[in-house]
């Protein structure tokens, strides 16, 4: 089990490296924000530990905070990234989008 997990870990590292080294400078801030949203996946950790039966008031409080934190990370991260990227549309497209909106 551990060896399999470690293999996945190492491969994922290389995938991250390969995918991200191609990003142009311009998109670095949205990329940072996007990857930031993805590590909000720690939310799953909170869900698993709480959902599979944490006992005790303090444990439950800590886990609810952890889940809230994780959710802020995920939801806020993706929304902020979307807002940033929304500004990168080229001019004609953006005008069209505005007209559609109105």
């Amino acid at each position: 089990m551990l060896v399999e997990s470690l293999a996945v870990l190492v491969l994922a590292g290389f995938v991250g490296f390969a995918v991200i080294s191609k990003v142009p400078n311009t998109l670095h801030t949205p990329l940072m924000s996007g990857t930031n949203a993805i590590h909000g996946i720690v939310l799953l950790g909170g869900l698993i530990v709480l959902g599979l039966g944490a006992e005790g008031v303090l444990n439950k409080i800590l886990l609810v905070i952890a889940i809230a934190f994780g959710t802020i990370n995920v939801v806020g991260g993706f929304l902020v990234t979307d807002r940033m990227l929304g500004m990168f549309k080229e001019k004609p497209k953006q005008d069209a989008a505005k007209e559609d909106g109105k």
Partner: protein
């Protein structure tokens, strides 16, 4: 059922990877972001399908709380405040990891019956998560100017003290891993790690903050991956590790663009006393040519090509809309207007592009450093707005300068230069800029926004 969940996890991290690939191009980026978000949604649903899930009300409470806090924060934040928002989102992610590790310790009574690797991974996650949470909050405080942006140190004792605290955290962790189960041990780990986060980020100057946020982002990713190992959860391992890898690359890129080494930044060597002392030495009695908005407008109106060089000063003054208006006026006179973007202009790589895009500046007129540098010799007027260190020729000519070797925009290669600046004060790096004393350069003192607005008025009157 568990196979089904495993398949959902595989779909979800495939979507993360595919989404990130989309983020590599401006055309596919918006879609890429939503693909990754969809992956996240699937991962959450898959987790909730795990057999034996309970505590539904508490789970719902946590998610609702997070949504109610996160959504308005993300919607309302100003584009100039983006770096600190990312710092904050990163911090809560790290905080979540640390809290989960703490509860893991409590529910397993100090990892009594768990394999050793679970204890090690959880403790690693606890330390890194806590460092990331507190470090990010300090970074947020500095960028939000709740804490002075200048380096705060306690002198020479700083680094030995950091090492001692780190050793304390690791020592507590080792005692736990080898069987200790006292509550105070895990609290010791978390508090020591918190101190490290605070003490490492406090001495770092504002100019290095983007590198720090990126580093903390990578660390949070690694802590999530460690959590995944401890909980045996593939989605956590893959997503966390991808962020860890990407964050490391970004950090490296940023540090390179500033000619800084990551260890030097973390040790807090720059922007402190010695660099400032070097800066105040040179050239204060040299003459500076100042100009007026009217003259600047005429100079640009008779140019055929204008390069705007925006810096953080433009962002602080919220001048990007005025700049766009000025560019539109110039373009209506048939003048080519381009923007030269240094990789670290603003406070994060690409931050300036976001700010200009917010002001409806076309993506195609933003030029990256190499292309800008080949354009400057054909440029009639280079308009530097609130940028300083990234235009400093000393980075190439003066081996004694603290920024020697940093790639810069060769603004002084253009036929004339107008610098918009509040005063003659030095930039983040605290060093004097020879560009301001160049005979080709004219200084237009004042707030960037009102200066540009003045130029716009004059252009309209022409």
């Amino acid at each position: 059922m568990t196979t089904f969940i495993a398949v959902l996890y595989i779909i979800s991290f495939s979507l993360f990877i595919y989404g990130l690939m989309g983020l590599t191009g401006p055309r596919t980026a918006v879609r890429g972001n939503w693909i990754a978000a969809t992956g996240m949604g699937i991962a959450v649903v898959a987790t909730l399908l795990l057999p034996g899930m309970g505590n539904w009300w508490l789970i719902a409470l946590g998610i609702v709380l997070g949504t109610v806090i996160g959504v308005p924060a993300a919607r309302k934040v100003k584009m100039t405040a983006m770096p600190q928002m990312v710092a904050l989102f990163n911090g809560v992610g790290g905080g979540a990891v640390a809290l989960i590790a703490w509860v893991e310790f409590r529910t397993t009574e100090g990892f009594q019956d768990e394999p050793l690797y679970v204890a090690i991974a959880s403790l690693f996650a606890a330390i890194i998560g806590s460092v990331s949470f507190w470090g990010s909050n300090i970074a947020f405080g500095k960028l939000q100017e709740l804490i002075p942006g200048k380096p705060i140190t306690i002198g020479k004792l700083q680094q030995p003290l950091n090492v001692v605290v780190l050793l304390a955290a690791v020592a507590c962790a080792i005692v736990i891993a080898s069987g200790g189960s006292s509550q105070w041990l895990i609290i010791g780990v978390l508090v020591a790690a918190a101190l490290i986060g605070v003490m490492v980020v406090l001495p770092i100057g504002g100019a290095d903050m983007p590198v720090v946020i990126s580093l903390l982002n990578a660390l949070t990713g690694l802590s999530a991956a460690a959590m995944g190992l401890a909980l045996d959860n593939t989605a956590l391992i893959v997503a966390g590790m991808i962020v860890g890898a990407s964050g490391s690359i970004l950090t490296n890129l940023m540090a390179k663009a500033m000619n800084r080494s990551i260890p030097a930044i973390v040790a807090g060597g720059f922007g402190g006393g010695s660099a400032a002392a070097v800066g105040s030495g040179g050239g204060e009695d040299r003459p500076v040519r100042s100009t007026s908005a009217g003259d600047a407008a005429i100079q640009m109106a008779y140019a055929s090509k204008v390069m705007v060089v925006p810096g953080y000063g433009m962002a602080v003054a919220q001048a990007q809309h005025a700049v766009r208006e000025m560019a539109d006026l110039l373009e209506s006179k048939g003048i080519e207007v381009l923007y030269a973007i240094h990789p670290v202009a603003g406070r994060m790589p690409g931050h300036m592009n976001v700010l200009l895009a917010e002001a409806d500046v076309g993506y195609e007129s933003l030029k990256e450093m190499d292309e800008s540098n080949s354009q400057f010799p054909q440029t009639d007027v280079a308009l530097v707005i609130g940028a300083n260190d990234v235009t400093n020729p000393a980075a190439q000519s003066d081996p004694n300068s603290p920024i020697y070797g940093m790639p810069i925009l060769h603004v002084n290669a253009s036929r004339s230069v107008i610098v918009l600046k509040r005063s003659m004060s030095s930039g983040f790096a605290g060093i004097d800029n020879a560009l301001f004393y160049d005979p080709k350069t004219a200084m237009l003192f004042g707030d960037a926004k009102s200066s540009v607005a003045g130029i716009v008025e004059e252009l309209k009157a022409l």
